[in-house]
Symmetry: C2
Subunit: 136 residues, 2 copies
DNA sequence: ATGGGTGCAAATCCTTTGCATCTGC
DNA sequence: GCAGATGCAAAGGATTTGCACCCAT
């Protein structure tokens, strides 16, 4: 699979694998430039798209925030901060009955590929920030 | 709550309540213009943002698609079409143990406000389209 | 006359595209 | 020399902002 990737694509994939914070394209670009100073932002976007098409990475989004990329290919859930837009992996399995999901998919007519549980709220950083603000 | 809204904001809210397809800002604009031909797109965006801040509507997104707005305030789940970006309500309750969710939230440090189950796949329209394409 | 709300246009941000160039074969 | 990949800049689409204007107080 990965053997078909060229050096730029491999570098992008490596950045994504090393960074579990679901970086945006711009953040990937900033990091990948350390390894490949010549690379352009457009190339990063092109590679991200190709990797996503080949299902080697996932693209997540939330509201009108910019897209975030994720090299983690096993199914997992997310916590989204409604304040700063951060997208955090949920490190535990949220159990959900397969029958329930199938029923829901059938009810919408969708041909289910995967699913995700999303928890919305304020992340630790934002909680800390508003605590600090309250003290001033 | 709604009594503080002016005529434009009420018209936007009405469009959202009448349209369960989670329209984009542009789509809201197109529809609201029937009732208020003078309104500008920027005003629609301003109102959508205010309504969201006041938690009277919700904003949903997926990848780098444009944001979609939802006047439905009770908790519910979504089916996202990975092909055309459509966002469909799941009309049945997907049961999820509260204890499971709490555990997940604690594991990420997030202060949980709400949650959502997302089913990804191809919607009926897109299924039909590729069936048609296969015949040609 | 004052202030908030508004339309319009310009600005901004994110992402994609066009095109000339470069690279490895 | 050719095909595919790339950098750069320009284009495109979504969203926000600046600003002058208008309306109700």
């Amino acid at each position: 699979m990965e053997d078909i990737l060229n050096a730029n694509a491999r570098a992008v994939l490596e950045v994504l694998r090393a960074n579990t914070r679901h970086p945006t394209a711009q953040e990937v670009y900033d990091e990948v430039r350390r390894a490949r100073p010549h690379i352009g932002l457009a190339t990063v976007y092109r590679i991200l798209r190709q990797l996503a098409e080949q299902k080697m990475i996932k693209v997540w989004g939330y509201g009108s925030e910019s897209a975030r990329y994720d090299a983690c290919t096993h199914r997992h859930d997310h916590a989204c901060c409604t304040e700063c837009g951060a997208l955090l992996d949920v490190p535990v399995e949220v159990v959900l009955s397969h029958a329930e999901l199938e029923k829901a998919a059938r009810a919408t007519g969708i041909e289910m590929g995967s699913h995700e549980v999303r928890i919305y709220g304020r992340c630790q950083d934002c909680q800390a920030k508003s605590k600090k603000a309250r003290l001033t």
